[in-house]
Amino acid sequence: MSDLLVKIRDLKIEGRSDEVWNPIINGVDLDLHKGEVLGLIGESGAGKSTVGLASMGYTRDGVRISGGSVEFDGIDLLAASAAVKRGLLGKRIAYVAQSAAASFNPAHKLIDQHTEGPVQHGVMSKGDSEKDGMELYRKLRLPNPDSIGFRYPHQVSGGQLQRAMTAMAMACRPDLIIFDEPTTALDVTTQIEVLASIREIVEEYDTAAIYITHDLAVVAQMADRIKVLLKGDEVEEADTRTMLSDPKEDYTKSLWAVREFQRPAKPAVITGATPVVSVKNVTAAYGKVPVLHDVSFDIHEGRTVAVVGESGSGKSTTARCITGLLPPKQGVIEFDGTPMPLDYRKRTKEQLRQAQMIYQMADTALNPRKSIGEIIGRPVQFYGGLSGKAKRRRVDELLDQIELPGDQYHDRLPSELSGGQKQRIGIARALAAEPKFIICDEVTSALDQLVAEGILRLLARLQDELKLSYMFITHDLATVRSIADEVVVMKDGKVVEQGPKTEMFTPPHHPYTDLLLSSVPEMDPDWLDKLLAERGVDNIGDAAVGKMN
């Protein structure tokens, strides 16, 4: 017996869909030593969560382990009885889920959920466990550690919940914790705090961990070793520094390369030119809740304005104001220098045609009951008046523009396409109206990096060919870097800073922009250490935002 904690050999997992068992994992090996942190990365569908759960001897409903072996500290988890497994789970193996808000039971207080594990496993009495919980909360730097446990989950913010869940996982001092994308749902400024505290506590108790994520920069900070998965197969495994500096496989290299796509900067806008879209002093509210305060910016022909901000900053609301779905309380929206009616219902067909929209979730943006030909053909017919053969020709032309062969895709339903292809159809539908201006609302955030990059390149090419103007809503600064010409930074419904991209990414920054930029993890494994050393634990994340207000 070495210090090997988890030993997985030739693990095969199948998932049930449409009454058939399909392979999800095709023979993965995994070794984890005591006190070691293994990073498991891959794109969606790579099977990283499935492997993570399987290392606990657990599978979700509709998934089964069909072969191989999983050993935890010498115990064969696949052969162990349900009772033996229950004895390990929560006590020696713990789990931290992606969405803490959904993974805490809304009906119980945090501390009661925290103590449930130790009490049920007979590790500690309820009183001791409560005291211990408060201690852990303090270590994880939760505010008011002595009283926060007596709150219900909905009374605590997302970043704090994620740390409370880490504390809960620590409650029995397990040998192994599985972190399943614990920061994916968080804003960047919150993420950094959670990362720092998770790393600290795992180091302190010398707990082994499997850290699952799709974000390379995050895993670089957290893991000792990294394993890359692709569609249920292992691509390669190496220790973190080697992996980052010298990836062996082409797939891994391509993952690393994504971040390098960057459009050449465009010449400055001619002063005095009429912008395609001009947002002037817009103030808006949902009912009585104010969401936008005096927002102004211009979008010029053939250029991309990126609107950046964290959730709740009002960037999507700005888009709704421009399209007329949410008529602003005050302010003007101008197209080509002429003010538009604020309510979309009062706009003419021609005005509606000029501004099109591409959505974040291609799944909800395409009617699942209509074929691709119908989806793209409708605006062609509606605005262009084409029908029959002429319409079909135009649809094929559009499909060609988005790099999908028309004869293959014309009659398919959206459900038969991949995420990236669906997003392309969304683009084609917008193009079909032959607009001057397109709003792209987080169009790449639901996609894997490689696919997202394809979409960004396509949008850039179309812009050059068709002289389109984009308003690009995103929370991802990497995307901004690669595609934007101008940047608008928003926070709490106000524009914090705006200007050409080159200016925005060079100091001096507005303090909020600075915080935002500094919070984006970099591929350097020492980045988090450096940042903490530079700023101190109290000047990152929500704490820093709090100081700003």
Binding site: M56, Y58, R60, D61, K85, R86, G87, L88, L89, G90, K91, A94, Y95, A97, Q98, S99, A102, S103, F104, N105, P106, A107, H108, E116, G117, Q120, H121, R151, Y152, H154, Q155
Partner: protein, 332 residues
């Protein structure tokens, strides 16, 4: 707490308002009758003078609005008016048959108590039974037990109450004379005897509502089983029973409460048919008899009572679900 209180008060207010509007609807519906009550009472061959006299007597010469408020005022103090055919009903009322119950209220009161007794017995059997079965079905979902339960509950939901009633009569009263098939209860009956006679109608109603409640309990729990916090509970190494009882059940309370209330409210409807089958002297039977002979004041009053009970139950469910929601109980 104040926000919960506000919401609850809002609901209460809304309930009262609904009841008020419902009373208007019922009043208007009744006044849609061709001709008027006077003619209805006296029949075709009545002399105009006699009709006029009765119209005056009943206040029918006044406008619709004053009559409504008169009626509403009466209802509020328990005066539901006079029955058109009180004499016919005295013998059915179950109470002292010697004196005639002249007012609607006097007719309804004893029967209302009987119906409440029937509904109470049913609820006492059905609610715990269906909750336990529902939890078990959720725990052993997709097992043989779950599937058999599914078939049985679906069948009993789909069957009309009178079918269930006659099947029960056939097996429990006729083929094996265990229980009486007629539920002729009266005041002053010993409790045990009363219970025995009420048991068959109560069982029929139980069959009708248990299935629905059990299915909804099961569905409410199973809906939650896919949620991340249930997975979390399993990954904490808790036993399946504990996962269901302490993690799923508290969050399923709101839908389960709603279902119980809905089904108790459904009892009100079911009671009509079942009371007729078993000749149970409750308000449902009175209602059907009054419908047949068009005894409008009784119909109107019964309708209002049924609607009030229905609204009250739904209101209770509403308030209880609000109270069971930690988000509302413990605001940020």
């Amino acid at each position: 707490m104040s926000s919960v209180l506000r919401i609850i008060l809002q609901r209460l207010g809304l309930g009262v308002l609904t009841l008020f509007i419902v009373s208007i609807v019922i009043f208007i519906a009744v006044n849609l009758l061709p001709g008027d009550f006077a003619q209805l009472i006296l029949g075709q061959g009545a002399t105009p003078e006699a009709v006029e006299a009765i119209r005056k007597d009943l206040g029918l010469d006044q406008g619709l609005v004053p009559r409504y408020f008169q009626w509403l005022g009466g209802v509020l103090v328990g005066d539901l008016g006079n029955s058109f055919a009180q004499a016919n009903f005295a013998s059915f009322a179950g109470t002292n048959t010697a004196t005639t119950a002249t007012t609607v209220a006097a007719q309804i009161a004893p029967r209302f108590a009987n119906t409440m007794f029937l509904a109470g017995v049913t609820a006492a059997i059905a609610v715990p039974f269906s909750l336990i079965l529902g939890i078990l079905a959720a725990l052993y979902r997709n097992s043989v037990f779950d599937r058999v339960a599914n078939v049985f509950t679906l069948s009993s939901i789909s069957s009309p109450e009178f079918f269930l009633a006659y099947i029960l009569i056939l097996f429990l009263a006729v083929m094996n004379p265990l229980l009486p098939s007629l539920s002729n209860i009266y005041d002053g009956m010993a409790f045990g005897e009363r219970l025995t006679r009420t048991l068959l109608p109560a069982l029929t109603l139980t069959l009708a509502v248990t299935a629905q409640m059990m299915r909804m309990t099961r569905a409410a729990i199973i809906n939650l089983l896919a949620s991340p916090y249930i997975e979390m509970a399993r990954l904490k190494g808790l036993s399946p029973m504990r996962v269901i009882v302490t993690h799923a059940l508290p969050n399923a309370l709101a839908p389960i409460i709603t279902v119980i209330a809905l089904n108790l409210a459904y009892l009100i409807t079911g009671v009509v048919v079942v009371e007729v089958v078993f000749v149970y002297p409750g308000i449902g039977q009175l209602f059907v008899d009054s419908v047949k002979i068009r005894d409008i004041p009784v119909v109107q009053a019964c309708c209002l009572i049924f609607a009030a009970a229905y609204i009250l139950l739904n209101l209770t469910a509403d308030v209880l679900s609000i109270l069971s929601n930690p988000r509302l109980r413990h605001p940020k």
